[in-house]
Amino acid sequence: MAVDLESPSNYITTRLRQAVNWGRKYSLWPLPFGVACCAIEFMSTVSSYNDISRFGAELVRFSPRQSDLLIIAGTISYKQAPILKTIYEQMAEPKWVIAMGVCASSGGFYNNYSTLQGADRVIPVDMYVAGCPPTPENLLYSLTLIQERVEKEGLVPSSVRHAGRVQS
């Protein structure tokens, strides 16, 4: 990036990709797919003490059409799986996914007939956050890692980025 403050028309030269990603990085709009205990810690993360808005991600949106960061907070059951998939598909490009907590990451200590063994069996996941539940600090850290990733992102849609990454 170059900045010219001398010439009368003050201009900045940059790459489109960088400018766009800079904007995206600081305005992630999370959609909390809050289904269990982890959702309570997500609530703590947005509350004033931990204050997720320091990272520009405080605009929590419950409509998939308006958000670009899906935070899966809780245990995904087989019954829930098709709904999670629909919601992911409804989100517009580009989009990122955090699996918050061990349940969303791998089923956690629920290895049983009702629990999906990880959200990545139905949708692609960018970041796995350890913890049961992860502390708010932990979740915020993963948010910053997503931001780093956003910064380096090309302008290709996530369906291309994620191609072939869904297990099962």
Partner: protein
């Protein structure tokens, strides 16, 4: 009292009472399926058992009559409890009692879903926790715990016929007598889903609504979205290993679940926690109750647009969490109680810290009361909304704050005191109308009472050991484990084989944040539970939700839902 009740039943029904049993204070009678409705009707009408607390299924594959269905009944008026057992063979139907007790509807569906016991005459016998494409019955002993089954699409809760019927009802609603019919066509009704992923559900629940304009003509609810198989997992683990799973039932008040679970197992073993342990349980349980009520009230107020209150109350919670984290290493999933004690004692300085933090609670509660108590918008949004009568509430199986909001001062801490609750000085706040407003206000008032209990408990916490002195349940001190062969063996056996709970059954219960939280445990004498049934307070409460919101508006439905405090972890287990 219950003893005499059993005798009276025997006198009344003679040979139709096939057997009576009594174990550690739980009385039960056995009857044939055909006689069940008769006996329950008698218990309800003549013996004052207003409430069916739970229906428990048990699978005994070796018996001729493979299943046993247990009905747990309770009377607050006469202060007695009784269990009615019905042995049934595979595929043999049990007559439904959903006409007698409204709460039976969902309880019976659950037994049908997990055990495959059919209930004849049931109005809507469908699966409830497992998804609609699931095959087999998960809690049967021959169903492998790890065998998952995929679900490809959500279930439609309304058929075309349902919608047509609802349209007819809507027509009747809008047409005044004498007018030409102002017909509502089925296609005029709008189907809207609230949940399973919706901000107002605070967890995974689903309500499907048929709307005429903004009016809810008909509602149906579906649960089971975070069914995590607590009961099956319990059978797969040792008694002590179940403890962390209890954290995740009502995850807003984990320590309460921990402590009540520990007490339930202690009851079955026949030991009693030490005075200090009981004191600690009271303290952490009341703190949990405060946190639970804080979260509920905050979320409820946010739902009706009063966002500021969230910031006032949530910070108090955050600050109490800090102390709990210091105490047991985790904020939410505490895993603090142990069978026969606690995982460790309070840390030095705990008491002063908590006293200080409860001061913050006072401020938060006062601030919020100032904002809402006489706030016109708040009153309009909550007064008279989602009201339920006392009789209905009892029949639906309501307990806890939602029942007390109807004006009934019923609290297990007073009715059947445990952990020395009878020695504390506190009141039971009640409401009058059983509406959303009263439910919120009862919770606000309960926080003040819980605060006072914690203060009293901190002031007079007895010294002495925390754990019972019993090598059958408590792990030996580390020095013994490393220094003596008995110590090693004892540790090894307790960890690998689990605590040997003597064979028998017992129902242990306490006043959870949402109402009666009970654990019905069956032991076959090994280190693992044979069957563990949780009586989650919000399960029966949520079963009434669909009926409560019918005829109202969507925003009311949201306000009501928040005030019922449905915690999905506990609801679906």
């Amino acid at each position: 009292m219950s003893q005499k009740l059993v005798e009276r039943l025997q006198r009344e029904f003679g040979d139709e009472i096939l057997a009576v049993a009594s174990h550690r204070g739980d009385e039960s009678v056995t009857v044939a399926p055909a006689n069940l409705p008769k006996v329950l009707a008698h218990l309800k009408d003549a013996e004052g058992c207003e409430q069916l607390s739970d229906v428990v299924g048990v699978d005994y594959p070796d018996r001729d009559e493979r299943f046993e269905v247990l009905y747990l009944l309770r009377s607050w008026r006469n202060k007695h409890r009784i269990q009615v057992r019905v042995p049934v063979a595979e595929d043999q139907p049990v007559p439904t009692v959903s006409g007698l007790y409204r709460s039976a509807d969902w309880h019976e569906r659950e037994v049908f879903d997990l055990f495959g016991v059919p209930f004849s005459g049931h109005p809507d016998l469908r699966r409830i926790l497992c998804h609609h494409q699931f095959e087999g019955h998960a809690l049967r002993k021959d169903y492998p715990i790890e065998q998952g089954q995929e679900c490809t699409r959500p279930e439609n809760l309304f058929t075309d016929a349902d919608i047509a019927r609802a349209a007819q009802r809507a027509t009747n609603l809008v047409t005044r007598v004498g007018d030409a019919a102002d017909e509502v066509h089925p296609s005029d009704l709008l189907t809207v889903n609230i949940g399973p992923s919706h901000p107002a559900t605070h967890g995974a629940l689903r309500a499907e609504l048929l709307l005429d304009g903004e009016t809810i003509i008909e509602a149906r609810t579906e649960i089971g979205y975070i069914h995590r198989c607590f009961e099956k997992e319990a059978e797969d683990h040792t008694w002590a290993e179940v403890m962390p799973y209890t954290d995740r039932l009502n995850y807003c008040s984990a320590m309460l679940n921990n402590s009540i679970y520990a007490s339930a197992v202690e009851k079955l073993i026949g030991i009693e926690a030490t005075p200090r342990c009981q004191g600690i349980r009271v303290i952490v349980s009341e703190l949990s109750r405060i946190i639970d009520h804080l979260v509920c009230v905050c979320a409820n107020l946010v739902d009706i647009g009063a966002l500021t209150n969230y910031w006032y109350l949530y910070n108090v919670r955050e600050s109490i969490y800090e102390s709990l984290e210091k105490l047991c290493g985790s904020r939410l999933t505490t895993n603090y109680a142990r069978i026969g004690g606690m995982s460790h004692d309070l840390y030095p300085g705990f008491a002063d810290e908590i006293r200080h933090k409860l001061g913050e609670l006072d401020r938060g509660v006062t601030d919020v009361m100032k904002l809402v108590a006489r706030n016109r918008i708040f009153l309009d949004r909550t007064s008279g909304v989602g009201a339920i009568s006392q009789a209905d509430a009892l029949s639906w199986g309501y307990t806890g704050p939602c029942l007390r909001a109807t004006g009934l001062a019923y609290d297990l801490r007073k009715e059947a005191p445990y952990w020395g609750y009878e020695t504390y000085d506190f009141e039971i706040p009640t409401g009058t109308d059983g509406d959303t407003h009263d439910r919120i206000m009862v919770r606000m008032a309960e926080m003040v009472q819980s605060r006072s209990i914690v203060m009293q408990a901190l002031d007079r916490l007895p010294s002495g050991p925390v754990d019972v002195d019993d090598a059958r349940v408590i792990l030996p001190p580390k020095a013994e484990v490393y220094g003596s062969i008995e110590g090693v063996m004892n540790q090894f056996k307790l960890i690998y084989e689990g605590i040997r709970v003597p064979a028998g059954e017992g129902y242990g219960f306490g006043e959870g944040a949402n109402g009666e939280l009970g654990f019905f445990c069956i032991s076959d004498g090994t280190g693992h539970p044979y069957r563990m049934k949780v009586r989650p307070p919000c399960f029966p409460i949520f079963s009434s939700y669909a009926e409560m919101i019918q005829g109202g508006m969507i925003p009311d439905a949201i306000a009501v839902l928040g005030s019922l405090n449905i915690i999905a972890g506990e609801l679906d287990r």
